[in-house]
């Protein structure tokens, strides 16, 4: 009895915690890193008081948020008001269940992994709409409507670009997608090359999907204060915050998996030396590569925020519907032709 209990319940939960806890820590460090990077780009110091180099700033913020008062605005719907942050958090975390971190390092190696990811991303919009509506505040409602329309628009572009990847791999399984990118040309075997426009669209859509700058009209301070979560405070706000940053990290990981060869090494095929394990991952690949790639992508989020002015709403909708969707539809066919004529083949490595 205990045996089954262990293998079917406790062990998976331990694995899950092994993903969730580092993820939360990563979010905390990411917030610190964001403030630091943007500080440098503005020629400021960034946080530097708490802990060495200010590294404990994020933890101080967490403690502060948790002991702040959670305000329930008048005339708001209590149940929905508390449900909304949950609905934002759950999909942002649950999506991680199918993300492979390395060879056989995946919690649930499901066949329809990509579809599951799409499902989880599409659920994120509930948190936004409900938060806006439950708050009974004009700013929140306006922000929620804008944000929801924006998120669903970019979800289409995102879904279509993923389809391009699927055409080349022929599988919905994320591990298969990484394997398909393996080859002797290393860096140049990955899908960013044949799917370059789609790769760019995917990442920009990811930025828009997470409501990050320069697509953050949902919380354009100068117009609608803070958008859908203007009324939220304390731990309820912290949950939205956590969900947003977890989504950003997720988008970075997925961009690396779909287009940048996941945990594969860019040097694969270039070096074939025999070396001890702790050194040969540099050319045979390993989870460290995935983390490096994801780190670079998540850095782009911060760079965008520091560099670009905010888009206007009509420009955002135009970009999504009139530029991205047509390009991705065309590229689905281009990818089909590439596959049909054998210009891109399924990798044999790994």
């Amino acid at each position: 009895m205990f045996d089954q209990f262990w293998t079917h319940l406790l062990l998976p939960v331990l694995y899950i915690l092994a993903i969730v806890v580092p993820l939360i820590l990563a979010v905390a460090m990411f917030v610190y890193w964001e403030r630091k990077v943007i500080g440098w780009m503005h020629v400021r110091m960034g946080p530097n008081k708490i802990g060495p180099l200010g590294m404990l700033q994020a933890f101080a913020d967490v403690v502060k948020l948790l002991i702040k008062e959670v305000i329930l605005p008048t005339n708001s719907s209590k149940f929905l008001y508390y449900l909304a942050p949950m609905l934002a958090l759950v999909p942002a975390f649950a999506a991680w269940a199918v993300v492979p971190f390395g060879e056989k390092m995946v919690l649930a190696n499901v066949n329809a992994g990509v579809l599951y990811l799409l499902a989880m991303t599409s659920l994120g919009v509930y948190g936004i709409i409900l938060a806006g509506w439950a708050s009974n505040s004009r700013y929140a409602l306006l922000g929620a409507m804008r944000s929801a329309a924006q998120v669903i628009s970019y979800e289409l572009a995102m879904g279509m670009s993923v389809v391009c990847v699927l055409v080349l791999t022929g599988s919905l399984n994320l591990t298969d997608i990484v394997h398909a990118q393996a080859g002797n040309k290393g860096f140049f075997d990955w899908y960013w090359l044949p799917l370059l426009p789609v790769f760019i669209i995917y990442f920009i859509s990811g930025v828009a999907e997470t409501n990050r700058a320069p697509f953050d009209v949902a919380e354009g301070e100068s117009e609608i204060v803070a958008g859908f979560h203007v009324e939220y405070s304390g731990s309820a706000f912290a949950i939205f915050f956590l969900a947003e940053y977890a989504s950003m990290i997720l988008v970075s990981f997925l961009a690396a998996i779909f287009f940048m060869g996941g945990w594969l090494s860019p040097l694969q095929g270039w070096i074939t030396a025999d070396a001890p394990r702790w050194i040969n991952w540099i050319w045979t690949g390993g989870f460290i590569w995935l983390f490096i790639k994801a780190f670079l992508f998540s850095f782009l989020f911060l760079w965008f925020r520091a560099s670009f002015p905010r888009y206007r709403y009509d420009q955002i909708m135009r970009l999504g519907w009139k530029v991205f969707i047509p390009i991705t539809i065309v590229w689905v066919f281009v990818a089909g032709l590439m596959k049909y004529y054998g210009w891109v083949t399924i990798g044999t490595g790994a």
Binding site: S77, L115, Y116, A119, L123, I129, L172, D314
Partner: protein, 219 residues
Amino acid sequence: MNPQLIQLIMFYAFGAVAVGAALAVITLRNSVHAVLSLVLTFFSVACIWLLAEAEFLAIALIVVYVGAVMVLFLFVVMMLDIKMEQVREGFARYLPVGIIVALVMLAEMIGMIGVRAMGLHVMGEDPAAAAGLSNTAWLGHALYTQFLLPFEIAAIILTVGIVAAVALTLRHRGGVRHQSAAEQVAVDPRTRMRIVKMASETMPTETVPPVAPSQETSP
């Protein structure tokens, strides 16, 4: 425990949630809560489909219904601000008749199907596994060979959906001034800006801007 039994228990658990949530949809006072119950119903049904090894359809149900259709429902329900009291009057009036009809139908169905079904397997065998394919690939094979015609007709239906939605809802408000990003992007700098070359001035008091200011008026 016997995996068959676990499957059966899961089936009834998800089934119970689905039925309970569906009941909540029609009884809840707050229409937003009702929509969320419907979401829960879809979710439970997706889990049941997953039990039946219909992996693709189960997740597609969540993507399409929960992720898209119910979002529209939520938009509509929230923004129309329906007064539930009026709707409920009719509900109470027709409730007895409705209950009787529902009970009769239930009894008939149990009589006709339920009793006969007792000797059945929990779930039928999985044709995808039998063919050695993933569920999605198996579905793809069926859809793009045998069921090609329905698939193309579905495209026509979707197009009709687009046309109908635009025809019925789109209204242009007159007198709205807006910028056209496409035109703005397509602007040729030579038509907007003139670069004037001129000799450097000697008198420091008289300042002339070296370049004519670019005009940023939008069409």
